[in-house]
C-alpha cells in the first residue's frame, strides 16, 4: 500500500471537492446494478472531474467490485477518456490523413516544444493541454489545429508561438 499510496499522492488528487465526491458516489450507486455500467460511470465521472485520476478509478473499481486494471484498461482503450486534467485552453492538433501529409506532426512537435509538455498532458499553470485528433472536417485548411472552439488552418511550425501568445496575453 505504501507505494501505491505514494503514487496517489504523486497524482495530487483525492476525490476532489466534497460535491464532486458525492456526485461520483451517487452515479456509482444508481448505475452499479446495470449490466455494462462501467462505460456510463466513466463518462459521468469524467464529466464531474474533467478527467479520470487514479483515486476516481479506484473508487469506481471498488464500487463495482472489479479490478483497477480492468477499469484502467477501459479508460486507456477509449480516446474519449483522459488520465490528465485538461487546460483552460484545450489544444487539439489534427493528425488525420490530410493534415498529416501536410506536416501536422511537425506542428504538434512545435506545440509540445513551446509548452514543454507532451501530447495528452496539461501545463503546470493549467492554461493549456494538448491532444491530437483525427479530422475536424477542415481538410482544405490542412494542417489544422483547434484551440478551444477556434480553428487555425494552413499552419506552419513558426506560427505556433504567436497563436499561443495570444491566449497567454488574454489570461493575464
Amino acid at each position: 500500500m505504501k507505494q501505491s499510496e505514494a503514487n496517489c499522492a504523486a497524482c495530487g488528487e483525492r476525490l476532489g471537492t466534497p460535491e464532486q465526491e458525492a456526485a461520483l458516489r451517487a452515479v456509482i450507486e444508481e448505475s452499479r446494478s446495470m449490466p455494462g455500467c462501467l462505460m456510463h460511470i466513466l463518462q459521468e465521472a469524467q464529466g464531474i472531474y474533467g478527467y479520470l485520476p487514479m483515486q476516481v478509478q479506484k473508487t469506481i473499481a471498488e464500487g463495482l467490485g472489479i479490478s483497477l486494471s480492468e477499469v484502467y484498461g477501459v479508460v486507456t482503450f477509449y480516446s474519449q477518456f483522459s488520465l490528465n486534467p485538461k487546460g483552460k485552453h484545450r489544444i487539439s492538433v489534427c493528425l488525420g490523413t490530410a493534415c498529416y501529409v501536410k506536416g501536422s506532426d511537425k506542428v504538434l512537435e512545435e506545440v509540445e516544444k513551446e509548452l514543454g509538455i507532451k501530447c495528452g498532458e496539461c501545463t503546470a499553470d493549467g492554461l493549456f493541454s494538448i491532444d491530437s485528433c483525427r479530422c475536424v472536417g477542415a481538410c482544405g485548411l490542412a494542417p489544422v489545429m483547434m484551440v478551444g472552439e477556434e480553428v487555425y488552418g494552413k499552419l506552419k511550425p513558426d506560427m505556433i508561438k504567436g497563436i499561443l501568445d495570444k491566449y497567454r496575453e488574454e489570461s493575464k
Binding site: 501505491s4 487514479m54 486494471s69 484498461g73
Partner: protein, 576 residues
Amino acid sequence: MAKNVTLKINHIPVTVPEGTTILQAARKAHVEIPTLCYLKDVACVGSCRMCLVEATGARGLVAACVYPVAEGMEVLTNTEKCRKSRKLSLELLLSKHKKKCLSCERNHNCELQRLSAEYNADEDKYAEEEEEFTHPIDLSAPYVVRDRDKCINCMRCVAACNKQSVGAIGAIGRGYNVHIASAFEMPLAASVCVGCGQCIVACPVGALKERTTVDEVWAALQDPSKKVVFFTAPSVRATLGEAFGLPVGTNVEGKMVAAIRRLGNCEVFNMDVTADLTIMEEASELINRIKTGGVMPMFTSCCPGWVKFVEQKHPEMIPHLSTCKSPQEMFGGLLKTYYCEKNGIAPENLYVVSVIPCTAKKSECKREEMGGEVDAAITTRELARMIKTAGLQFSELPNEAFDDPFATATGGGTIFGATGGVMEAALRTAAKMMDGAFEVVDFPEVRGTAPIKEATYNVAGVQVRVAVASGLSNAEEIIRGVQSGERHYDFVEIMACPGGCVNGGGQPTLPDSMRNSLELKDLRAKALYKSDKKNGYRRSSDSPVIETIYGEYFGAPNSHKAHEVLHTHYTADKRL
C-alpha cells in the same frame, strides 16, 4: 443429455457431444491443431489466430478453439490456406517480440519458438527497429520478472490472474499500443499482485519468469565459511522429474536428494518434517480456538499467496488466519535456532535454501518478521536448472535418502503439496488429540481437485465443519459466504493455486501439447497420495522426529518457545 454430433476432421470421422469445439474434436481424432492463446482451464478467447482451420459452412477460416462443431461438418486443419495464415500470424508476432532466445529461460521450451520452427516462420520478415525493444524490465518484486518486450499479448497471464480473482494485470491501451500491464503502469510489487505465479506458468514465452536467486545459492555452495542446507517442499518430488522428461506424476524423491547433494557440499532435509510440525501447532491452535471460543472459522496460513491475498484484499479476515508460520518459515526458524544450537553453528554461518513449488514463498522469506531465516527460496524450475548446469544425468542418479535429523516425516506432511492435504493431515492429528481412541487416518471427502470441498466430522462429541478451497476465486467465494453467514465452518484450508502446490507458480512449465491434454494437478497429486499410503507414519503426531523436536526443544505445541519460533503475525495492507 447433450446430443451427439458426427463430423470429419481431415477426412477422419469423429462423434462428439454438441457444443464441443473443433479443437476438442480434433484431439479425439488425434489431430493436433496449433494454439498460442488457448490454455485448458485458463484461457479461451480465439485471439491469436494460430488455430485457424477450414470448416464447411463457415465463411473464411475459423478459430478452432472457440468454434463449435456441427453435424456433417468437414474440417481441414492442414491446408495451404491454414498454413499460410498461421505463418503470417507468427511472423507478425515475431516482429514485436524481443528475440533474445539464446539466454531466454524458455529457450527450447517456448511455444512461439516451437511453432515458428514448425511453420518455418521468418523472424525478420516484418522486423522492428532494434531500439523498439527498450521497455524497462519490471524487477520490482522479489518473486517475478516481467519483460514486456517478450510479451506477445496472448492474454493468458491476464486470464490466469483474473481466474485467481486478483486482477493485477490487464490489457492497457488500444490497437498497436496494446500491452499487458498493471493499472497506471504500476510496478507489480505495488499492485494487488499476491505473487502466486500462475501468470508465469500460463505464459507461452519468456515474458514472465521467477526472480532467480540461483547465483546466490551457487556462491554459498562455494563459500567455505558457510554451511549450506537445502530442504525440499512436499510437491517438488512429484514434479521435478518433468523437467527431465519423466512422465507427469513420477515421484523422484530419491534422485532429487541425490542431485542436490551433488551440487556442492550441503545437507538435504525433508520439508515434510515441518509440514508435520505445522500440523502439530495448527491442530493445537484449532482445538484451543474451539475450546476457548476463539475467532472462527480458522483459516490455514501455510500458503503465502493466500496470506497476501488476505492482507491486501480482505484484511478484515486477518484474525481468522492461523498464527502458524508456513512450513518453509518454520523450517527456517527451526534450523537457525534448534539445529544451530544443537550443532554449535553460528546462525549467520548457516545458509538455508528452500526448494519450493511456489513464487510467493520467495517474497515470504523476505518478510521482515521472518528475520531472514531462509536465505534463498528457489523454485522447482530453478533447481532443475541447477541440476542441468551441474551436468548431472538425472535419470541415472541413484535414489538417496534425506539427511538426519530431518529425514523422516509422515504421509500427512507429504500430502501438504495438494489441495485438501493440509486439511486431511490436520484432521488426522486434531482428531487424535481430541479423542485418543480416534484411529481413522483417511478423510477421502477432502481429497481431489474439486474447487471447493466440504465435510463435517464428529470427534469426541464435537461437530467439526471443514471446507477446502484451492484457487483464489474459490477462496473469495468462501470468504463471501462466511461473511454473509451463508457458509458455516470451523476450519478452512486455502491454497492459492488451483489444485494446490502441485500446480504452483514455480512448477515446471510443460509444453501446451501436454498441458492441454493431461490433468496435471491430478496426476501430480496422485504421486503424493501414493507416497502417503506407503508411509508407515500417516499421522503427524506419530512422527519420531516431531517427538524429538518437542522433547529436546519446544516442550509442547503452542508453548512459549514454539510461539517465538513457529508463529507469526500479519499486517493489513489494503490495496485496490
